[in-house]
Symmetry: C2
Subunit: 199 residues, 2 copies
C-alpha cells in the first residue's frame, strides 16, 4: 500500500501512518515503570502526551498544551531511521551531536515526506520547533521528555542511572537543567526524590 495507490491524498496519509507504526519497534534505554522490559518509542510518545495533559498546570505563560501534545506525538518519529540515542550513552556525547542531528534531519525528510505536502510542512515545522527548543511550547515539551525517564528510573530502582553510572552532577546538567527550564517546580519535586539514588 504505497503512497501512490488509490486516492493519492488518503494513500499518502496512510503510507505515513503505516510507516509510523515502526516506532513501536524502536527500543529505548529506559524500561517500563515496573522494570519488566525496555520501553518503546511509540508507547513513550503516548505516555508523554498524557504527561502534557495531566501536568498542564506546570506549564509557564504562553504555553498551548494542545500544541505541546501534537509536538510530543511526533517528536520521536525520526527514530524509525536513527534509533533512540540515550541521553546518558557515550558519556552524554551522542545525544544532540552533529552526526545525530544530521541523521535525524535526513530521517525527517523521508518520513514526513510520505505525507501530502500541507501536512508534511506542518508536521516537519512542528518537529523542528521541538528540536530547536526555543518557543514556550517546545521548552515545556522538552521538560516533559526529560522528566518521564527520571520517573521511570525512580520507580524501577535506578534504571539507566545504574546502566550508565550517572553521577548527581551529570543528572543535573544533562537532565535537571532542561526540566527546570520549562517546569521549575516539577524539577524541584522530582529532584528531591532522586536524592537516595545519588547518596
Amino acid at each position: 500500500m504505497s503512497a501512490a495507490s488509490g486516492d493519492s491524498r488518503l494513500g499518502a496519509q496512510f503510507a505515513f501512518l503505516n510507516e509510523a507504526d515502526r516506532l513501536k519497534s524502536v527500543l529505548r534505554a529506559t524500561t517500563l515503570v515496573d522494570g519488566s522490559r525496555p520501553e518503546n518509542s511509540g508507547e513513550h510518545s503516548w505516555h508523554l502526551a498524557l504527561y502534557a495533559l495531566v501536568l498542564a498546570d506546570q506549564a509557564g505563560p504562553g504555553v498551548d498544551i494542545n500544541r505541546v501534545i501534537r509536538m510530543l506525538l511526533i517528536h520521536d518519529l525520526v527514530e524509525i531511521d536513527v534509533g533512540d540515542v540515550p541521553i546518558h550513552s557515550a558519556n552524554g556525547l551522542a545525544h544532540g551531536s552533529v552526526d545525530t542531528m544530521a541523521a535525524e534531519a535526513k530521517a525527517a525528510d523521508r518520513i514526513f515526506g510520505l505525507l501530502p505536502p500541507d501536512l508534511r510542512d506542518d508536521l516537519r515545522a512542528l518537529w523542528e520547533e521541538f528540536e530547536a527548543a526555543q518557543t514556550p511550547d517546545a521548552v515545556f515539551a522538552k521538560s516533559l521528555d526529560r522528566v518521564q525517564p527520571v520517573m521511570a528510573n525512580l520507580m524501577s530502582g535506578g534504571g539507566t542511572w545504574t546502566t550508565y553510572k550517572v553521577t548527581r552532577d551529570q543528572l543535573e546538567s544533562r537532565v535537571g537543567v532542561k526540566i527546570a527550564r520549562g517546569a521549575p517546580a516539577l524539577w524541584e519535586w522530582v529532584r528531591a526524590r532522586t536524592a537516595p539514588f545519588f547518596g
Copy 2:
C-alpha cells in the same frame, strides 16, 4: 510513591501517570502492521492520536481535533483493570456487553480517582463522552478507533479477521458502520481495500 507522598497535587498526578504506564502491558488481539507481535494498548493509543492529527480533514463539521486527540489518549486506560475486549471475540458479543461496561466503569472510578479532583472530573467526563459516542468529537474518535485495526489487518495479511473467522457482513456491522458514522469517505476508501480478504 503513593498519591499521599510529598506535595499532594503533584503526588496524585504522578500516581496516575505511573499507574497509566501499565497500559503498555495490556495486549490487544491486533498485531503491529508488520505482524511481528501483538500491539499493546499504550502504543495503540499513541497511534490513534496520530491518526487524528493526520486524518483531521476527514472529520465532520463541529469536530475539535484537539479534544479528539485528548479523548484518544485516555480512551483505553480502563483496560489496565479490564483488559482489551476484542471487537470480534465471543462472536462479537463481549465488546460493549453490560458486564464489560460495568467493569470498565469500576476501573474508571479507580484509575481516574488517582488524580486530583479537578483533573479526575475532567478526564472521567471525557472518557464517558467517548464511550457514549454521541457528540461529534466522540463519533469521530470512535471511527478512528475502528479504522486503525482494519489497517493493521490489511497490512499484516488478515490479522484478527483470520483469528476470529470474520465474515464480510460482520466486518460491515461491527466495524464499517461505526467508521462510516464519523468518517464516511474513510470507510469507503478502506472498505475497497478489504475486498480481497472477503472474496
